[in-house]
């Protein structure tokens, strides 16, 4: 199954597969969970419209960071999935214009976020993320 289930009971399993694809950079699989008119709003309020804009944005993120998303919690109704996520970003190069703030190579940032996924006919039609906590671990702090 490469799409989110319409059953809330199966939603967590499907969501885990979606996040695993995202973590692996398998955007073809990740995009199979999206409705054609998908809209994704990241924590700073920027809205990405459509699969190609989402893939382009996260391809850029992956070119400068290693990002790992951990699902801390997830539950759903027929039309809405809520998730608590932790994302770790490890800068693989200096990223002065990173969306959450400048990063130097080796810096890590952790974001604890709450995200809502609107479900339409078994696919995500709108994703909205909010930042609950943001924690920086600077490479220089660990030396």
């Amino acid at each position: 199954m490469t799409q989110p289930s319409t059953s809330p009971a199966d939603a967590a399993t499907a969501f885990a597969r979606y996040i695993a694809a995202f973590n692996a950079g398998d955007f073809e699989t990740a995009c199979s969970y999206y409705a054609d008119d998908i809209r994704l709003t990241i924590g700073n309020g920027r809205e990405l419209r459509g699969r190609s804009e989402i893939v382009s944005f996260y391809t850029g993120v992956r070119s400068v960071t290693r990002r790992t998303i951990t699902v801390l919690d997830c539950f759903a109704s027929e039309t809405l999935l809520a998730a608590e996520l932790e994302s770790e970003f490890l800068a693989v190069t200096d990223v002065p214009d990173f969306t959450s703030g400048p990063m130097r190579q080796g810096d890590r940032m952790y974001i604890n976020s709450f995200a809502f996924y609107d479900i339409d006919q078994g696919r995500f039609s709108r994703i909205r993320a909010t930042v609950f906590r943001r924690v920086w671990k600077r490479h220089a702090d660990r030396i």
Partner: protein, 122 residues
């Protein structure tokens, strides 16, 4: 409160805040409630009630989903400052924002409320 379903409990809470029913709101909170967002970090039900006495609240529920023990809600909040000399808002001034809020429930009461401001359109 234990006779309520989780959704009923949440609706009661929203209604109590909107009616300024402080007794009703207090009945929803565990004594060791932890309520936090990007502005406040309140470490007890008593501290949360002290906050509510400083601000009149208006809540509009935009989205809701839950599992046993946890509620996720999208809420539009409006706070209006009551008279208080040290608040950043002037008396009568209002502030409105939307948030994604996670509420943990134990023994029929809210044990943890975490809110994050939502910058996306509802």
């Amino acid at each position: 409160m234990n006779d309520f379903s989780q959704r009923q409990r949440f609706d009661f809470y929203v209604d109590a805040l909107n009616r300024d029913d402080m007794e009703g709101v207090a009945a929803c909170y565990a004594p060791d409630l932890h309520m936090t967002d990007d502005q406040v970090d309140l470490r007890s039900g008593e501290a949360a009630m002290a906050f509510h006495r400083r601000f009149a609240s208006r809540l509009e529920l935009l989205n809701y989903v839950d599992r046993p023990g946890r509620i996720a809600a999208e809420i539009r909040w409006t706070l209006r400052a009551r008279e208080h000399p040290t608040d950043p808002l002037a008396t009568g001034e209002t502030r409105t924002w939307a948030s994604f809020t996670m509420i943990d429930i134990a023994d029929g009461r809210f044990k943890r409320i975490r809110s994050a401001p939502c910058r996306a359109a509802p």
